[in-house]
């Protein structure tokens, strides 16, 4: 698993870089974020939840069965929305209310 950062969407706030538990994200010369060590991503999605521009997607590596779907989150009205874009263009969304406990 790793992440892909859309350079054109990045606003250079550096929040993803701050929060990465592996210090894997850096800012380039123009101040935009990139993942310097893509193989070292744990897949924790901390950066994705921080990004105000929704510029970061995570995906499963092909070696663990990944087929190219991309995930990001958006938070609106206190609801964390997990948005999964599949390669065929279809989109799935799961909304999570952080105030609700897991059932399991």
């Amino acid at each position: 698993m790793s992440i892909a950062i859309d350079r054109n969407k990045c606003v250079g706030c550096g929040k993803c870089r701050t929060v990465c538990p592996g210090s894997l994200i850096k800012l380039d010369d123009s101040g935009r974020a990139f993942i310097k060590y893509p193989r070292d991503c744990w897949g924790c999605t901390s950066c994705i939840k921080e990004c105000p521009a929704y510029a970061i997607r995570f995906y499963l590596g092909a070696d663990i069965g990944g087929a190219g779907s991309l995930v990001h989150t958006e938070k609106t009205d206190g609801i964390l929305k997990w948005i999964i874009e599949k390669p065929d263009g279809s989109v799935s969304q799961i909304d999570i209310d952080p105030k609700e406990s897991n059932k399991y």
Binding site: R39, W42, I64, W82, I96, S101
Partner: protein
């Protein structure tokens, strides 16, 4: 290197679960200055970065702390410290209430009481548990957090731990921190063995790949007594995503089945290690792959599982959605992970007294780095952080800080500058890391040998790891982050040598898979009453067998 000198009453190395709670405890019970050094950023560092699915250590209504301690003793087949388990268990509910006050969502029943999941667990929404802990700490006046400073060694003075050395991975500075007392809370060690998916997804592992055993290695080098490294932790996980399985097993009652559809878990036993061992054995005997039987669960259960996994291991939900095969439509394939060294699940780590003092004066340990106290999970790590912090406050009242000798500082700076100086290394840090993982996988009971090993194999592992230690001394780093990677590799190599020595020393198979010794395939009554401890003396690992006491008798705790 630019040198930065700092002074604090209490130094906490590692701002994860145990470290943050220790800081909170110290701040609330004293006016002592507290400094947390964290190699990433405390908001999402450590085991809880992605969240956690449940609180697995809680005393539910009608149960007692000794019930939990007995459970953990039994799961460890008797190799655990009852004094540590009990003192931890007594605090589990108090720290849970505190977490709720910080904002953690815990499921309640219609009467407003916590709804238990089984005999020991609470259901929560743990996605934001680490940000909650971090913000509680960041608001404290006497607590300072140094993010992105990687501690590389203890500073010793007057025969005690007097502080620590670190390297800023962004500013490149060399930090010399003098402290009245030091808490080690760096977590356990991943990445010593070859992972399930060593290619692009090598870090898609259960335990944080950034927990490199720094605390264990620093203690080993400084001559601390360490315990039970032979009790490795191997997790039973969802294939490929290495996501936890407890949510499926306990949440929807999914049983472990083989490819013939037979429930096999009952044939092997239900302790943590037996669940792994059964899966390995079924595969070996031609009845693989193995699954958790989820086919036939309801669409509502599917939906709840999708959400629960997003709150702790989002890759599993992605896999279900991407494949179009929700758990109700396809059983979830399972496998064992590579072995980890992690004192929050097994009993590996520092040999501590009941107050969580290590055998090194001035040094305390809490969380996954502290030994003897398995099944502590999140709440147990918090409890240990609290116990250790209170002990440290007592220590700094009675002991003056020591001055760190300048020549020791110079030695440590010289070592770091050697790695950043001229580059004549044939090998890269990554190559040596992969070499270490291959050695451990092949000769010290990794996935490749179904976690089994012989004494002859361990001897080969020892020689090969020692060779890698020599090679690692010649590595080169271009920047502070690469320098951190060199130190991390050397930490893992140090831990690997101790793991090998411990596996060799326990001449029995007490836990299947965790320590499957083919020379001694049965349990031994003699070793069933012994801790395998060790201490580095004159560069050699000396094994110390210590008796397990009966009825809560105190433990031998030399060097103090």
């Amino acid at each position: 290197m630019k040198v930065k000198k700092l002074d604090t009453d209490i130094l906490i190395i590692g701002g994860g679960t145990a470290g943050c709670y220790a800081a909170l405890t110290a701040a609330e019970n004293s006016s002592a200055s507290v400094l947390i050094c964290e190699k990433a950023h405390i908001k999402r560092s450590g085991c809880l970065a992605a969240g956690v699915n449940a609180l697995n250590a809680y005393i539910v209504e009608g149960k007692t702390p000794s019930f939990y301690a007995d459970y953990a003793m039994n799961d460890a087949a008797g190799i655990a410290r009852y004094d540590l388990l009990l003192t931890m268990s007594e605090r589990l509910n108090k720290v849970t209430a505190r977490l709720e006050k910080m904002g953690l969502v815990i499921l309640k029943d219609e009467n407003g009481r916590y709804a238990a999941r089984g005999n020991r667990n609470l259901k929560i929404n743990g996605e934001n548990i680490k940000p909650l802990l971090a913000s509680a700490v960041e608001g404290l006046e006497n607590v300072k957090v140094l993010n992105r400073v990687n501690i590389i060694d203890y500073a010793m003075a007057d025969g005690r731990v007097a502080g620590a050395y670190g390297i800023g991975i962004e500013d490149g500075a060399f930090y010399v921190i003098r402290a009245g007392a030091v808490l080690i809370a760096t977590g356990g060690a991943a990445g010593i063995y070859k992972p399930n998916n060593p290619g692009f997804s090598r870090h898609k592992m259960w335990y944080p790949p950034f927990n490199t055993g720094a605390g264990y290695a620093m203690g080993i080098r400084a001559g601390a007594e360490m315990t039970t490294f032979e009790m490795r932790f191997i997790a039973l996980r969802c294939k490929d995503t290495i996501a936890p399985t407890g949510t499926l097993a306990q949440g929807v009652g999914a049983k472990q089945i083989n490819s013939l559809g037979e429930v096999y878990e009952t044939r092997y036993g239900l302790t943590t290690s037996e669940r792994v061992y059964g899966t390995v054995n079924e595969n070996q005997e031609g009845r693989g792959p193995c699954y958790l039987k989820t086919e036939g669960i309801t669409p509502e259960q599917d939906e709840s599982l999708m959400k629960a996994y997003l709150n702790m291991a989002p890759s599993q939900t992605l896999k279900w959605i991407e494949s179009g095969l929700a758990p109700s439509r396809q059983n979830v394939e399972i496998e064992g992970t590579e072995p980890y060294i992690v004192g929050g699940h097994t009993a590996s780590g520092y040999w501590v007294d009941t107050n969580r003092a290590t055998t090194l004066k001035g040094l305390y340990a809490a969380g996954d780095v502290a030994g003897g106290c398995p099944q502590k999970y999140v709440t147990g790590a918090l409890a240990e952080g609290e116990i250790a912090a209170l002990s440290m406050l007592g220590y700094i009242r009675d002991n003056e800080p020591a001055d760190i000798p300048e020549e020791d500082i110079a030695l440590h700076i010289a070592e770091a500058e050697k790695f950043t100086g001229g580059n004549n290394s044939l090998f890269t840090t990554e190559q040596l890391e992969e070499a270490m993982q291959t050695v451990m996988d092949s000769y010290a009971g990794g996935i490749k040998t179904n976690y089994r090993f012989t004494g002859a194999q361990l001897e080969i592992a020892r020689q090969k790891i020692k060779q890698l230690v020599i090679l690692s001394g010649r590595l080169h780093a271009d920047d502070p982050q690469e320098l951190m990677y060199i130190y991390e590799l050397r930490e893992r190599l140090t831990v690997a040598l101790s793991v090998i020595a411990h596996l060799e020393a326990r001449k029995e198979t007490r836990w299947h898979s965790f320590a499957e010794n083919l020379d001694h395939p049965e349990k031994s009554s003699e070793f069933g009453k012994k801790f395998v401890n060790s201490r580095l003396e004159n560069g050699e690992i000396r094994i110390i067998l210590r008796d397990i006491t009966e009825g809560g008798e105190p433990y031998e705790h030399s060097d103090r």
